[in-house]
């Protein structure tokens, strides 16, 4: 299998500038075009082990990230995102090219991938069982996800949980974990061996950095998992790690609120969420210390063993 690393930097840039880099992430193939050297470098660092498909392979998404032209290129360079020739977002400062790529990839999936129920949630797996972590920004979802995947859990996604409406299993979409502000230093200290991008300051989300997905997560991107727990996390300074059961009907409403395409799927989305809360145990989870949080997840797993 051809991987991005096996292309080498020169071929990677040539594909990005020319016919497009056909990058496979989970079930999706994205054709990426870009002349930006900084984006090529970041892709090389964060997606080294991902499959790359040959020119001509059908792609689910066609994206282009390009720099400014004319005087703008010299005075205040920006990065522009195009999807199928459209520009759905305002340009961002050039230094934010890789964060923009990641956000744009999330947008492609959340706005197009309606063969799945797409939930705004991290999801990790161990022993074939998946823990889904839906939460709004600021809840510590990605921090907890990053900690779990550095302590033996497999990353399925830190942002988009793909639930098959047919059998309720979760398809992996492992991509770099997005960390913001204080979480960057916390996870750097917690997982010194992990690989990170250089932090990018002054984005709409503050300072952001991305942590590379583990080799195992990438290699097993084709292995779906059975949802066993739905955990709504909330980080609170000094709080003991504590699970509180959430009644299923209330969990249904909260999951629906966190799903991108719940209403679009209509009755199928209703039943997909319904089966999910009937299959998995549902909890609110507060935590203040990552090691304590990990111990709670290990306990959940042990109870299922």
């Amino acid at each position: 299998m051809l991987t991005l690393a096996s292309l080498g930097p020169r071929e990677l840039r040539a594909r990005l500038r020319g016919p497009g880099l056909r990058l496979q992430t989970g079930p999706f193939v994205t054709c990426v075009h870009s002349p930006l050297a900084s984006l090529a470098d970041s892709l090389g660092a964060m997606y080294a082990e991902y499959p790359v498909l040959e020119e001509g392979t059908l792609a689910d998404f066609h994206v282009r990230l390009s720099g400014s032209t004319g005087l703008r290129r010299l005075l205040r360079p920006q990065v522009h995102f195009h999807y199928d020739g459209m520009a759905p977002f305002q340009p961002l400062p050039l230094g934010q090219a890789f964060p923009m790529f990641e956000w744009a990839m999330n947008w492609c999936v959340s706005s197009q991938a309606h063969s799945w129920l797409v939930i705004h949630a991290a999801v990790v797996e161990k022993g074939g069982l998946a823990a889904i972590l839906p939460a709004p920004p600021g809840s510590g979802k990605s921090t907890l996800c990053a900690a779990l995947v550095n302590r033996g859990w497999r990353l399925l996604s830190d942002e988009l949980t793909l639930v098959r409406p047919g059998d309720g299993r979760v398809d992996p979409l492992p991509r770099p974990v997005s960390l913001k502000n204080a979480s960057i230093g916390i996870i750097r200290d917690y997982a010194p061996a992990a690989a990170f991008t250089r932090p990018v300051a002054d984005t709409v989300k503050g300072t952001v950095a991305h942590m590379r997905a583990s080799s195992e997560s990438v290699a097993r991107a084709g292995e779906a998992a059975a949802p066993a727990w739905i955990v709504f996390p909330k980080w609170q300074a000094g709080a003991p790690a504590a699970l509180t059961p959430v009644p299923q009907a209330r969990a249904h409403i909260r999951l629906a609120e966190n799903a991108f395409n719940y209403s679009l799927l209509g009755e199928a989305g209703f039943h997909a969420v319904g089966r999910l809360v009937e299959t998995a145990r549902t909890f609110d989870f507060t935590y203040g210390v990552l090691d304590d949080a990990i111990a709670v997840f290990e306990q959940l797993l042990a109870e299922r063993a």
């Binding site: 009644p247 249904h252 319904g274």
Partner: protein, 108 residues
């Protein structure tokens, strides 16, 4: 003196629902919303699925008897009126024409 309204399900509502421990989620076929309801509210909607009826008839079907206990009956009817107004705001039920009007057959 006006007659009490006859209530019915809004045509097109299939009452697709799932219940867990006394709480239910209901899929609204017309708006695509999902509502969190108590089992007792779902029971009221179930009565209207059987046939359009007035609040007093629903109260009797739910075990209250406005005739034999006027005080308690009035209280239940007031609660039902409030509930039905809330359900109407969600496009789940609607009031038909006053008593005496023909009751339309429910769609299959």
């Amino acid at each position: 003196m006006s007659s009490p309204p006859i209530w019915r399900l809004v045509p097109g509502q299939g009452l697709v629902h799932r219940c867990h421990d006394g709480e239910c989620v209901l899929f609204n076929d017309l708006t695509g919303d999902t509502h969190l309801l108590g089992q007792d509210v779902l029971d009221v909607l179930g009565l209207l699925r059987e046939m359009p009826q007035a609040a007093a008839q629903m109260a009797t079907a739910l075990g209250a008897d406005p005739q034999s206990d006027p005080g308690a009956g009035a209280s239940i009817l007031a609660e039902l009126d409030e509930l039905l107004a809330d359900l109407a705001a969600l496009s789940l039920v609607e009031a038909e024409a006053a008593v005496g009007a023909e009751v339309e057959a429910m769609p299959c």
